[in-house]
Subunit: 455 residues, 2 copies
């Protein structure tokens, strides 16, 4: 056992239930508020956008929620995913630490995103949805949803931020290969898009606008359509817990107990899915020594530099109000290459764990993450996504600390995806063209002046 490089589960070990951390929280979650009335939203408010089963999951207190068999059937195309012991990286770092990583890069879309896309599409199918619209920035979420829609025979429409649509044709091609219809946002397909195009035909678009287009599409389309979100919401993190449930079983098989768990955070879904299944004991006993670290980019440091307040999830102020650590919904993060981490807010489940001292947060700069990504690729082989390289950076830092202190610890991180579509970013790094963005306090202050007033 002790000389294994990968810990592999058989298909019979694929989790049968998702883990719902809401069952074990020793505090109340703040309610989500209606943006108009500022009263807690009810199921009816969300029904135009989401199928009822997902709305129920959003507020469920059941500890275990059964994974429907058709979802497990699609999961089995690539799950359970391997847990690797990073022996070559350990050797390179000359650390007494044991480093493990959960490899979510093996999904057809190349990241953890399909774990929730498949579940969301399944419930939509069950409730009669015939098409789903969504937005995508760099394209990770759009491609996961395109894959899932193809698997269940649902039409998929993706509003892709124009600048990415033009600069990242491979991600767009991947969605099209899986049968999705992809349009650049702003698009002529919605009133919101047409308005922007009228004033600026060459607008590069934004994620906020793309969300507006997708939501407008859903509520105005004649074919029964729903909207789908790839992170932040409770049900999304719930579906991602297959990652941590498998990893926990794999570590048990390896005979190890984690001292430090690490994941990167943008909206919080890969971190939450990976870390939550390890938390029940710590939620009961706060003195537990297990550390859990959420790693965010210094260019979008919602946990480490944001304020805790009610805010919109999107730039266009269309979503319900969520209590979270936020940089302000008007905050536009610098164009770092980890596009999946460029978000002003954070999953409320992650925020409350942080506020209550159950997890730590760390912000890292771009150059240091690429350095870690390259070191990982040169020892373990796999080219990591720039997002995942944030987790690798902190895993390496902690392993080096073990060396300094002469202490062996078990460090486990989530490799949320591969970097096959991010190679131009690696090229820029190798050519010395990657810069660190120093975020002035004034910029955060300014964005936070526009925070909504909640009584």
């Amino acid at each position: 056992m002790s000389d294994q490089t990968k810990i592999i589960l058989s298909e019979s070990d694929l989790p049968k239930d998702w883990y719902n951390i809401q069952a074990d929280l020793p505090y109340e979650m703040p309610p989500v508020l209606h943006p108009g009335t500022k009263q807690p939203v009810g199921p009816a408010d969300l029904a135009p956008l989401f199928p009822m089963e997902l709305i129920k999951q959003e507020v469920s207190r059941e500890r275990w929620i059964a994974i429907p068999e058709p979802v497990r059937e699609v999961y089995r195309l690539w799950r359970p995913t391997p847990l690797h012991r990073a022996r070559r990286l350990e050797q390179e770092l000359q650390t007494p630490a044991k480093i493990y990583y959960k490899n979510e890069s093996v999904s057809p879309a190349g990241s953890h995103k399909p774990n929730t896309a498949v579940a969301q599409v399944f419930y939509n199918k069950l409730e009669g949805t015939r098409r789903i619209a969504t937005e995508t920035g760099a394209g990770q979420w759009g491609s996961a949803l395109a894959l899932a829609c193809q698997m269940f025979g649902i039409e998929c429409k993706v509003y892709m931020v124009r600048v990415s649509y033009d600069q990242k044709p491979y991600r767009r091609n991947l969605m099209e290969t899986w049968g999705a219809k992809v349009v650049p946002s702003p698009s002529p397909d919605t009133a919101a898009g047409r308005a922007v195009l009228a004033s600026d035909p060459n607008s590069p678009g934004s994620l906020g606008l793309a969300i507006s287009e997708a939501v407008e599409d859903v509520v105005t389309n004649k074919v029964p359509s729903k909207y789908s979100l790839g992170s932040v919401l409770n049900h999304v993190l719930l579906h991602q817990t297959v990652v941590g449930l498998e990893a926990r079983k794999q570590l048990e098989l390896a005979g190890d107990t984690p001292d430090i768990l690490i994941g990167c955070i943008g909206g919080g879904s890969n971190f939450g899915g990976f870390a939550f299944p390890f938390l029940p004991e710590k939620l009961k006993d706060k003195t537990s020594k297990m550390r859990v670290i959420a790693v965010e980019p210094a260019a979008a440091p919602s946990l480490t530099r944001g304020v805790y307040a009610y805010d919109f999830g999107d730039l266009s102020m269309m979503t319900p109000l969520i209590k979270m650590y936020t940089l302000g919904h008007g905050f536009i993060p610098a164009p770092i290459h980890a596009g999946g981490l460029r978000y002003h807010g954070m999953s409320p489940l992650v925020c409350e764990l942080y506020r209550n001292g159950f997890i730590e947060a760390r912000a890292v700069h771009q150059k240091a993450t690429f350095e870690a990504g390259i070191q990982f690729a040169r020892t373990e082989g796999i080219l990591p996504a720039p997002e995942s390289a944030h987790a690798i950076r902190v895993a390496i830092d902690e392993a080096l600390r073990c060396r300094e202190e002469g202490v062996s610890r078990t460090i486990v991180f989530n490799l949320s995806g591969h970097g096959h579509f991010d190679l131009s970013a690696y090229e820029r790094y190798l050519n010395g063209k990657i810069e660190d963005y120093v975020l002035p306090e004034s910029e955060i202050k300014k964005a936070q002046e526009a925070l909504p007033v909640v009584p």
Copy 2:
């Protein structure tokens, strides 16, 4: 067992030996000849280019050759690879056939190529080589060698055909991320490259020229350097047999016996590595009903339309003479998107099996392969390499025949790699811009007029 989607081996099932089919051939292999003397080459002729252990493997008759432990250690980063039952594809085709595929796309380089790259670099390291030079066309081989060199701390220099260097920057970036030095060929680094640049500074280059540059580099460099080849040679196919050895064990675990084995062929290495371990029984008993099909592109149909003759392995007539099915070393295949299959000749081991009736060959056109690739991606999720889509095409055709005939057969093919770096080709297909190349007999005749005269 019967409802499994993937058959997974544990690390303890990783093969300990490669299978050498030369031990079981019921015929003699024709000798490889020196291009000058036209006498059989000896080890001394090859020693400037290859380490002695690989030269020995090239002619060994030992049935099993032990895989060195440091090679197995690197293999374990991604091996054993899964064998998938393509249930969703079967369902889509409404076929009574069982379809399995061996998934070699999970290696860090995204194909089967690292299986031999790692072995070759290991033996080089053992014998004191400090740098390795090679050529690459589309970049599959170059990236596998770059990865392997990084794993063993050997310098890697890749001469990449200029047109690919410019058009496929992602593959180049991948090699650089793994620490290789990549130059466009023609390059100013060699006399051969300089000569071409002098007459045509904008030359797009060719694989033949890139081979000349790599070989010149190796024999003139002051640092002890060797050359490395990614297909065709016996030792390359030997290393690839880990694929078939694992697949055979996995099918046994699934309780199935293959009726039809399918692989695509360019130089023959993924096909050979996959199929050879299934052949011992058939080599003893030719009446065995198991069929083995090598699939080549209609644009480079060496087995189905080539002549059986001694020919050079390269355009520049620098290699030894090999008895094989060849389109003529001067034959330049049309620029189909399956760059890895654009080769005028074929592995002599594969050629002799074909000539002696142990395997079949089939040529398929480009549009039909992309159609199959898309059908596979939309059912099984994984985006296949255009090369691998050739095998998928024939697997689907055979499964459809099973439906017509109302017969269940077990069809197993090798998914040699993913298509993450080939998405622009898929885009062209989806936009109706992919054409089939009809190869006139006159073109083959013309190239074969230049075949060398061997007494």
